[in-house]
Symmetry: C2
Subunit: 392 residues, 2 copies
């Protein structure tokens, strides 16, 4: 069936631009599928490392394959000492996503695989990037506070090691498990803006670091991954459960939007939000500070009601809505929420870069190079006549 | 008129995804227009600084405006000392485009404007990026050879200052003029892959540095800006005029492509190639080494003939074809050709980021978030049933 609707200025919303075997988002049914598996069947059942394996190698690993893969990832966590030095040279008030973007680009400088356009090199770069992203984020969270980065611990899982590098203490199983689920839920989401940016760059045959660096940039925007930080800022601004209703009314009256409500694809609740919410509740009880969860829950209810009243249609929670309070309960500063999104999504980006360059989903790899509609009528319907500088 | 053709796996070729006032490429007529002006009327008549002004502020400057603008740009050429330090920490064999990508990302760390989403901040970031890109490239060309970077000279034009920072000598007027024309020709080209990547990132409301960093990544690919380096590598590989014909025959017989021939949009010769060719010829005569120009010319003729014979249709030269020998005559190493493309194109990227975020070309800013067609039939037409690790 051919597309036959105007594409101009739609942000390509609803246009299927490429075939993919990696994931599917059914926005109407609220289903997310990673390589054949429903996310709600995977979350809580498998580790992030298993998801990475699934995304990269198109099947769930058996015990032996998983052990080998975990070892490979753990061995690649270290950053080159020169990269730590370069991070230590950066201004301490730099935005963490900007540090991660520069860090991703700098990793290319240390890797000969960046000079080789092959599937083997791409797979190696994928492992290195997935292994090193948490180390960059954790190193920066310490460097900016004038602390020494903590060396990765190869005996810990991907999730536990990140929390360890952040805080210097090994997290317990419940905390590790919750964080692991967060990574699993954020790993992949088809042609979202950052993945599309990464694929776009990869389509020129640029290497994986160059492509992933674009993905980080795209994710940093507040309409994309930056939203989880904004949700937390909103919760902090509201401050208490009794102020939620007033906040919602004021915001919608002044034409504002509630961060974390609404999504480009889902026309029902984001399936990931339903998995995050109970973890946020448990963490609230565990820390004895239930208000961030309660505020989120009330904000969802009041926000949905107000939106329906105001606009006459429904709005739904997305993945950023319940992840915000959850990360906050884990002791993670709000401005690191988006980098944590990147720590998870790097596996999806890597899988997409590989599919774009070597997957053969398309009949032949082509460059993303759209057309545009020129409306530069600076001299009416005609071209402008050139006037030399002295006569202007 | 609605689009009504399959979009899937086309690389969006021929699909008008957005309105723009910045430039127009008429691929059939071989016309390139910057904000109302034909490129062939501008090239040789105006400086790169005037083109930047035109792209950013939608009109050609008068003498007073231009003087002020040139001063603004010249004042922003310096890099933060910490950025030079970070560059000096990078491995010397890093790819120059990878250095530029990291450098672009690192500039954000030093600029409070990166934290402000406003047109004013965007315009200031545009000037800083355009001013500093040449300094990063020139600094790296020296650092990697264990030389101290040369401080920018504010009394020189944008073009002359770059050549001066590269070599330490002030170029004469002819050389400066030729390089200036190269910058003018490469400044802007509508929704090419790197500009689309930059707009895609900007559409999430990420800041200009994040967006431009994506553009650099996209430009680095050999199907995009990386092509000019590949053209020079091809010329060096062929080595002499008498071997051109044999090279072309062998290449097409083995299914290879001739770099610099063919373009996503032009169905005639790239208008920029016709402006570059005579400059390459003059530089050949000036340096007493005419073969690179002569090889390029013969390669164009033989390549076009062979393609027509083989494929039954015409192929045309693009901007990278004649720029390669020209830059080489200027004493620029082949692996810096693509960074030089970026030094020029940064003005186009900046103008597009501003249009994407503040231009109002679209009725309302929307995120680029396409859909995809899922073909992950890993378990036939059904979803896969989850199997726990111990049973796999």
């Amino acid at each position: 069936m051919e597309e036959c609707k105007p594409i101009l200025n739609t942000g390509l919303r609803g246009f299927k631009v490429a075939t993919t075997k990696i994931s599917d988002v059914d926005g109407l049914a609220g289903k997310l599928i990673y390589r054949g598996y429903l996310i709600k069947e995977l979350a809580g059942e498998i580790s992030y490392e298993e998801v990475v394996y699934l995304l990269l190698y198109e099947k769930l690993p058996n015990k032996k394959e998983l052990d080998h893969f975990k070892k490979q990832l753990a061995e690649e966590r270290q950053l080159p000492p020169e990269l730590i030095l370069s991070l230590e040279n950066r201004p301490k008030d730099a935005l963490p996503m900007d540090i991660l973007q520069a860090g991703a680009a700098m990793l290319a400088h240390h890797d000969p695989d960046a000079k080789e356009l092959s599937l083997e090199a791409a797979n190696r770069m994928a492992i290195k990037l997935i292994a090193k992203f948490p180390t960059i984020v954790a190193a920066w969270s310490r460097i900016r506070n004038n602390q020494k980065p903590i060396e990765p611990n190869p005996s810990l899982s991907h999730a536990a090691n990140f929390l360890y590098m952040m805080n210097g203490t090994i997290p317990d199983d419940e905390l590790t498990g919750f964080f692991d689920v967060c990574l699993v839920l954020h790993a992949e989401h088809s042609f979202n803006a950052s993945t599309f940016a990464a694929r776009e760059v990869a389509s020129t045959r640029a290497h994986m670091y160059a492509a992933v660096t674009a993905g980080v940039g795209s994710l940093s925007g507040e309409l994309h991954g930056g939203a989880n930080t904004r949700v937390m800022e909103m919760l902090l601004e509201i401050g208490s459960v009794d102020k939620v209703e007033e906040y919602v009314t004021n915001l919608l009256d002044t034409g504002g939007i509630i961060m974390g409500l609404g999504h480009a694809v889902y026309q029902t609740d984001d399936p990931r939000a339903h998995i995050l919410a109970p973890m946020s509740k448990t963490m609230g009880e565990r820390t004895g500070e239930t208000r961030w969860y309660e505020m989120t829950k009330l904000l969802e209810q009041k926000g949905k009601e107000a939106f329906k009243r105001k606009k006459g249609r429904d709005i739904y929670v997305n993945v950023d809505f319940y992840s915000a309070a959850l990360y906050y309960y884990m002791g993670i500063p709000a401005d690191l929420f988006t980098p944590i999104f990147a720590i998870a999504r790097i596996s999806g980006w890597a899988a997409h870069v590989i599919e774009e360059q070597f997957g053969g989903a398309a009949p032949k790899p082509v460059l993303y190079r759209p057309d545009s509609h020129y409306i530069g009528d600076y001299c009416g319907p005609d071209l402008c006549a050139f006037v030399p500088l002295e006569d202007r």
